[in-house]
Amino acid sequence: MLEKNKKAVVAVALAALATSAGAQDGPVKVGFAADLTGACAALSEDGLNGAKIAAEEINAVGGILGRQVELIVRDTQTKPDEGAKVARDLITNDRIDVLTGVCSSAVMLAESAVSAELKVPFYAAIGSTQRANIELFQPYFWQVQANATMEAYAAAEYVAKKPEWEKISALGSDYEWGHTSVAAFTERLKELRPDIAFADPIYAKVGETAMAPYITATLAQQPDAVFAPLFGPSLGATLKQGQGFGFFQKTNLVTLMTVDTLQSQGASMPAANVYGIARAPFFALEQSPEVTAFIETYRAAYGEYPTDWAINAYDGLHFYAAVAEKAGTVEAEAIIAALPQVSFDGLREKGLTIRALDGQMNAPVYVGKAAKVEGYDFPILTEVEKFEGAPLMPAEDLILQAREAAR
């Protein structure tokens, strides 16, 4: 009798083992809940293209822990509630191992909350709000690019080195990113250059394209340079409309300038006095064999140069693969434990790591001068200065203080 029971238990245990082994044999599922339509569409598409190449490369050399990588792509429509819904569906129905793909900060925070609740790793490679690292940090989250505060700090470091700039204005998009960027930039620049005078910041509504009144109001402050956390249509409109007001004769513009912006500006880019902050400008990376091979593969596949978004999404998936290899499994707790132990050589640079306290990668920020150069049919950034990520990361005690204050 006893013997019989024993046999039954063994049989059940064996069956259980067999099913779990079955799951281990299937593909590693990467849930790509991306903002493929709506305001973030262009950036998200580039990110997806980069991730696809990374997945193919990983699969070509045997996958992650011997398992193939499968991208499961869903559209969030750049809506936070839709993003949360899609993330939840990917986790519960598709049983994904990791979640990524998001672009908009708002969608990113919504997906991060789902990742925390259902305990599935989640990383951001486009959206970069520092709130995900600081106030709203959760242990299953990391981001593989400099967050918005780090970018603003890099801009401040760059501006501080221009002794002839003594008065600074700010012209930003009127939402969280614009406001926190201006605050971080001002804070760091005040430390570096107490002599600089700051004018009252001016904010334009998100997506504004009639920038002329804002340009005029900014010029009325007579600044030596304008820090402008604007993006997309508002930025493009400022570059075009500013020329009619002598903006680029009277002052200098320091703004976000990723490869897609440089491409869409084309011949309309002002000839001088535009300084761009970038995350992964392909032309300014160290042209290692890996970088040139990626650029060629990308061009062959999509007929254009890779944007910052494509490069970071590519690096992001390769980094995840490295973490999973280190952990020896894709199980969530093991991934999170292995996360800070991995030193990763990406396209941007070698030795990229994640800080456990806030899930932030020590990713670099690039600042350079926009100019037309032989060999490209769009302007690029020249005299690019690379700011290492680590010194830009907010100090640990400041993060703890900010979290305490938010509570």
Binding site: A42, I202, A210, A212, P213, T216, K240, G244
Partner: protein, 290 residues
Amino acid sequence: MVLIQLVNGLMEGMTLFLIASGLTLIFGVTRIINFAHGSFYMLGAFLTYELVPLIAPGTLWGFFVAVAVSAAAVSALGVLFETTVLRRIYGKDGILQLIVTVALVLIIRDLVRMTWGANSVSVQMPDALMGALVAGNTYFPLFPIAIFAAGLTVVFAMIWVIYFTRAGILLRAGTDDRGMVALLGVNEKLIFTAVFAAGAFLAGLAGGLSAPYGEVNYLLDTTVIVSAFIVCVIGGLGNLYGALAGALVVGVTKAMGVMYFPRLSMVLIFLIMAAVLIARSMGRQGGPAR
């Protein structure tokens, strides 16, 4: 600076008027609120983007020809839409109009995205309109001044057509009393089609003219339609002069607001809109397109 800001406001107002005038014209006659008006604007901009390099890139005449051809093409599309779809729903429930015109918005948006992708494109500005008139340290940008002049020409052309031509008389009559016009043996359908063609033409024209000054992408449709509705609410839907006044008020208020109350510049416009709605409970319906 105040002067430049005033000019900025007037120039933005003129673009808004070009967009809103077509919307209000179509509503005045057909009583259809055409949500796809912003889509026509967007198509005008994308077609101009395609045509400028083909005709005579960089020249003034090449740009205006490209814009005119684009507007005509958009107008033709408008006629196709009016005769095949819209004609069937005149006088029907408002919700049906909403469904049909919003469906067109979604269809055009997806087609545009399939054709031109999700990234913004730039339209080359004519060389002659680049840069600015410089007086001392003050710059007056040439391009928006030229657009303002073009807009003014359109305003005068519209006034002439509406007041001094037979088509204008029929249009005004059609607005006042559709039934009577039909009883008098006028082909009412033709008036509707013509008005829709004109409205779509204006939208395409506005899109083409504004294209080099901003960013052209597949999200332009909704951006534009919202501003156009604000203008129409202030001016009264269906009222052409109201649209002109509304557009200039919105443009100037915004520009001055940015200068003096940067935190309130958007709120100011909505405050004016609310005030108009309270003062004139007819605001939404507006007067006839006289």
